[in-house]
Every structure is written in structure tokens, then in C-alpha cells.
Symmetry: C2
Subunit: 200 residues, 2 copies
């Protein structure tokens, strides 16, 4: 049995922190792992800024609710689901992704979680597991699934390489250069063609 | 991160072989594992009958296309997907389930596969893996998911018991009797209440 595993941000929806940073007018929140490679340090920094700006989980979800999937993403995801099983493997937080998942008709999502207190103040985050995307592919393989994976970022490489087949999608120039063993496609049409070849 | 794993037939959709048997007017096809406990023998028997009646995969899919999810199943599945991740674990075949999955807005489905030749004649079947439902729960646990599972049949018991929590749904009297350690609920409202308690 076949399945497709896709990264979320940059593949089906915009980068959530960057869009949220713009919408909330807080440029510091656009800081990413490219600026601060220590993910835990970066998240603590983000949580501190949210606290200082009195931004709670419902405020963030409200801003994210105004975001839309990337143009063509809904139709693309629907096409994949008509053909095979689709699971989203993401490093985002389930509470952030929710309004966007609704717009994608709730594909299955494995990701991380935000820890908020009763009044919605974000106090911490919980990784599902270290190397979550790669471990998910390993788990699906233990279920005898045959997997095609695609993503756009450094954190997608282990997932793509662990899968039976896969490619990069709209990856930044540096990743294309560093990973010349992986094909990179730049449109949903081309990505769907890759998936169709895998399924045939 | 939480998820719900559900059996398909008898939980969200009717028993496919029984409905197909009625629609096609072939009573022998309603034979189940209750009549023939050897699953492989049962499937070979079914494939032989299909061949004798010149019924090919597209004919079967056409009949299944006329079936509907159980009353209330669409709304129930949507409610679950608004709250958490839903994965269907089924012993059906992906090619059979497809028209019904469309009516359920394509939740992720892990099941078995029919092997048909180019003209659609069913020649064999392929199990995803032995003990597929239980192994799937184990794999999700290796992904650090916290799982609620529900089903109606003997082949769901290992799945329910392997999960963090779960219950029977509309199970036959014999199973309720044999598994008095498991709660059995009989409405989507009660099943959703169980799931909500698990998620809280």
C-alpha cells in the first residue's frame, strides 16, 4: 500500500511564524532556525516575545485563521487524496496548524504541540519526538507502507531520504546546491507527476 | 499528541461484502469469517465467485459507489477530525473502500489491497501485514502518539487493547460477552463523549 508524506509549511501553507510576524507587526518573530540554529533557544525566545506582547494562543490562532493555504494547494492535496493516502509531517504545532488544516479539509497531521495554561498563555512546547519526520517514515515502513515524501527545508532531508522515493519542492537555492542527489520540482503539477510515476 | 484510530466497516460504513452480496444478488458473497474462519480460504472462495459471475473490480466499485456511510457517520468523523487526528485501520481493500472514503472526505486509511489484472479481473489480494491493526497501533506508539481506538469486531480487539484507551462500538452480543473488560457504546454521541474524555 502506498502513501505520500508532505511537509506543511512552504509546501501547502505559508511559513506560519513569518506570516504571523507580519500580521502581528512583530519583526523579531520572523527569526528562524537560519538565524538561530538552536531550536530550543529560538522557541524560548519566541515564547518570551509573545509574553511581552501579551499575545496568547487564541490571538495567534485568530491571526492564523486569516491565512490561506498556498495558491493551488487545496486542489493539489485533494488530487493526492483521491489517488493515495496523504499524511502531513510537520515541525509546526497542532494548535497553530488547526485553522489551516480546516481549509485543507483535515488531512492527517503529525506534528508538535504548544503547551498553554488555562488562560491561553503559551508557556512551553513539546516535540512529538526528536527527528520526528524521519521516525514517522520509519514507523510507516514498519507498517509495510511504500512512501513518497516531499518537503522544502533542511529538516525534510532525512524524511525524503528515509522514504522509498521523494523530491524537494520549491527548496531554497542553498538546499538545491547541497542536495544535488535530490530532484527539486517547483509546481504542484510537477510534484503530482512525480507522485503519479511513483504510484504507477 | 493524540489520535483516534477507528475500524471502518460496521463503525463508519456498512459491511462491504454483505452489502455487495445483496446489491449483486449473490448470497454466497455474504459469507464472512464467522462462517469460514480461514481468511485466506474465504478470500479465494470470494475471488472464485467473482470470476464465475464475471464481476470485475470496476463492477464492484460501481456497486460500492451506490453505498452510503452509516447514518451520522460523516458528521461524527468530521467532529473527530476537528478535535484530533483520525486514522482508519481496516481489513478492507483500498480499491473497495475508495468510493466510501470519498463520501467521508478522505480520512487517512491503512488497509489491504486487491490485486487485479489489466482488464480489472481480481486475481489475488495482499495483506498490508499480518495483525495489521495491532501493528499500526504499535507503530503510532513508536511515534509517541497517544491513541484512542474503537471497533466492532474480533479483529479490532488487539487494536483496542494495544491503544492507550478505547472501546467497542455497536459490537455483536458475543463480543460484548467475551470482552466484558471493554466498554461498548452504541451511538456516535456516546463514542464522541468517550473520545472527548480521552482528549481532555
Amino acid at each position: 500500500m502506498n502513501m505520500v508524506c508532505l511537509d506543511l509549511e512552504g509546501v501547502l501553507v505559508p511559513e506560519i511564524w513569518i506570516e504571523f510576524s507580519k500580521a502581528a507587526g512583530i519583526p523579531e518573530l520572523s527569526r528562524t532556525t537560519r538565524d538561530e540554529p538552536d531550536y530550543d533557544k529560538l522557541m524560548k525566545f519566541r515564547i518570551e516575545i509573545l509574553k511581552n506582547n501579551n499575545l496568547k494562543l487564541p490571538d495567534i490562532q485568530k491571526v492564523i485563521s486569516g491565512m490561506e493555504p498556498l495558491p493551488g494547494a487545496v486542489e493539489f492535496a485533494n488530487s493526492v487524496r483521491e489517488k493515495t493516502q496523504l499524511v502531513i509531517l510537520s515541525d509546526t504545532f497542532e494548535q497553530f496548524a488547526k485553522p489551516l488544516m480546516k481549509k485543507l479539509s483535515y488531512p492527517t497531521l503529525f506534528c508538535n504541540s504548544i503547551i498553554a495554561d488555562k488562560d491561553g498563555t503559551i508557556i512551553d512546547y513539546a516535540l512529538r519526538q526528536p527527528d520526528g519526520k524521519k521516525e514517522a517514515i520509519k514507523a510507516f515502513k514498519s507498517m509495510k507502507m511504500r512512501i513518497f515524501a516531499a518537503g522544502d527545508s533542511f529538516n525534510d532531508l532525512a524524511m525524503i531520504r528515509e522514504a522509498d522515493a521523494g523530491c524537494l519542492f520549491c527548496a531554497p537555492e542553498q538546499i538545491r546546491k547541497d542536495c544535488s542527489d535530490l530532484t527539486c520540482v517547483d509546481t504542484y503539477k510537477d510534484l503530482l507527476a512525480k507522485i503519479n510515476t511513483f504510484l504507477d
